[in-house]
Each structure stands twice: as structure tokens, then as C-alpha cells.
Amino acid sequence: MEADAAKFIGAGIACIGMGGAGIGVGHIFGNYLAGSLRNPSAASAQFTNALIGAALAEGLGIFSLVVALLLLFT
């Protein structure tokens, strides 16, 4: 029973990592918006790069979700 409780606590702690991914994705899009307001003509060319960066940052947050799921269901 205590091992189960520790598992749930661990899963909850693992999900903190997703907050970091949120910060990262927000940082990328915030900076993209700031840059595109300074130079709107170059904005559309860089939107793909912003998406790639956001996807890479988000992927690391998904890792912590997977760790949480592994703790819960294995």
C-alpha cells in the first residue's frame, strides 16, 4: 500500500516537469511575437522555425508525462 502511495506521489512530482515545457513553449512564442512585431515582413518566414522549436520544447515535457504514466500504470 505504501509503495502505491509513493507511486502516486512520484507521478505527481513527475508532472512538474511539464510546467518547464510550458515555460519553454511560452518563451518561444512570446519571443516570436516580439520579433514579428518588430519586423512583420520577416515573420511569416520564421513561423515554421517557431513551430519546430515549440515542438522540440514540448517533446521534453511529454517525456515527464510519460514517466508519470509509467509510474501509474506499470
Binding site: 515554421t48 513551430l51 519546430i52 515542438a55 517533446g59 511529454i62 517525456f63
Partner: protein
């Protein structure tokens, strides 16, 4: 439990086929929706190209938009020589997009919310990157791990980091799509589950249930965005990784 958020991910065999060495080859609801996704894409594109005219009809415009979207993406990332990978990238993009979108219908199964499907796609893509890179550049492909212009003292560490980052690509490619789709569908089910459990409390609960209902509607719209965005990200990362195979020097 009536509204178990994980119930939607259960794989049920529809037609029992054969068993080989403990592996079940049944035709499941997952297989059904893979066939449905491939069939829908084929049907739309067939209808789009059936009566091609100079002034496109509505369905033809959709097909052209779709083609141009992926073609521009491939050209932008890999250059015009990357267009020989266009059929592959288009297939991957269309399959993932249609699986994600079909999964948004109520009671439909989301193929891409299972890590085994996305991992199979990701491992195939990375294996293709390695094979194409070795076939095209031979051992020069390993220049991918040795960036030029790096001081010799820190080169071993940089190489180690590059190798690790290359090895983590299939993992992150698979888990990103899987995690986004699965987490999104769980969140939808959890919020709409609040509506059911609050509505059972009487008149006060029904008024309170309006808030999770509004949240559910908003999240459904957001999930459509995520469904498209993840298919796009999956396809463009495929392009980026294939570009490494075509041009391994940094």
C-alpha cells in the same frame, strides 16, 4: 466506472484472425480506423483529381491546397532535391492528420493515441534516415556527429551529445504525437465527465455544469488545432531529419 477517461483507448478485436507465436493478428478497432484514415484520404484526393480543370472546383481546391502545403514544406526544409521524398512525407502527413481528425469524432478511435503506432512510424522514419544517409554519403554520413569548426578539446563531448540527441529522436518523435493526442483526449473526457457528475446533483449542479461544458467546447476547438499542428510538426520533423541524411555536414 461509467465515465472512465481511459476507456476510449481500449483496443477491441472486431474480426478474430490468426495467432502466430503468441502475437494476435486480429482486425481490431485500431486497424479499422487506420483503414478508415487511409480510405478517407484516398477518397478526398481521388475526388479532387477526378475532374481536374483549369478553374478548380471546391474539392479540387482542397486537394491543391493540401498538395501545395506539403510541397512547400518539403522544398523549404530540404530544397528542391528533397522533392523525391515528397510522396513519403505527404503520405505520413496525410495519414497522421486524418487519424487525428477522425479521432475527434465522438465514439471514434484515435489511432495515433497509441504509442505502438507512433513508435512504428518514428522508428521507420529514423531507419530510413540512416539508410538514405549511408547510401548517399557512405561513411561521410557520420560527419553528422562531428560538427565542423568546433575546438578539438571539446569535440569528444560535442560528438557524444550529438550521438545522444540523434538516438533520442525516434523516442521524442513517437512520444510527442502519442502524448499530445492521448493527453488531449483524456482532458476532453475529464472535463465533459464533470458535466455528467455535476448534472446528477440537481438544479444547482446543472447551472454549475455549464462551466465545464463551455470548457469542453473550447477544448474541442483547441484539440482540432492540436490535431492539425501535431500532424504538421510530425511531417516537418520528418523533413528536418531527412535533410540531415541528405546534407550531413552542419
Amino acid at each position: 466506472m461509467a465515465n472512465d477517461p481511459l476507456h476510449q483507448f481500449q483496443i477491441k478485436p472486431i474480426i478474430d484472425l490468426f495467432n502466430v507465436g503468441g502475437m494476435d493478428f486480429s482486425f481490431t478497432n485500431s486497424s479499422l480506423f487506420m483503414v478508415a484514415a487511409a480510405g478517407t484520404v484516398s477518397a478526398i484526393l481521388f475526388a479532387a483529381s477526378r475532374s481536374a480543370s483549369l478553374v478548380p472546383s471546391r474539392i479540387q481546391s482542397i486537394g491543391e491546397l493540401w498538395y501545395e502545403f506539403v510541397a512547400n514544406m518539403v522544398r523549404q526544409v530540404m530544397g528542391s532535391e528533397g522533392m523525391k521524398f515528397f510522396p513519403f512525407v505527404f503520405t505520413v502527413f496525410s495519414f497522421v492528420l486524418m487519424s487525428n481528425l477522425l479521432g475527434m469524432f465522438p465514439y471514434f478511435f484515435t489511432v495515433t493515441s497509441h504509442v505502438v503506432v507512433t513508435a512504428a512510424l518514428a522508428v521507420f522514419i529514423i531507419a530510413m534516415v540512416v539508410v538514405v544517409g549511408l547510401a548517399k554519403h557512405g561513411l561521410h554520413f557520420f560527419k553528422l556527429f562531428v560538427p565542423s569548426g568546433v575546438p578539438i578539446a571539446i569535440l569528444p563531448f560535442i560528438s557524444l551529445i550529438e550521438v545522444i540527441s540523434f538516438l533520442s529522436r525516434p523516442v521524442s518523435l513517437a512520444l510527442r504525437l502519442f502524448g499530445n493526442m492521448m493527453a488531449g483526449h483524456i482532458v476532453l473526457k475529464v472535463f465533459t465527465g464533470f458535466v455528467v457528475s455535476l448534472g446528477a446533483l440537481g438544479i444547482g449542479g446543472i447551472i454549475g455544469a455549464l462551466f465545464p461544458l463551455a470548457m469542453g467546447v473550447a477544448l474541442t476547438g483547441f484539440e482540432f488545432l492540436v490535431a492539425f499542428l501535431q500532424a504538421f510538426v510530425f511531417a516537418i520533423l520528418t523533413c528536418v531529419y531527412l535533410n540531415d541524411a541528405l546534407h550531413p555536414g552542419h
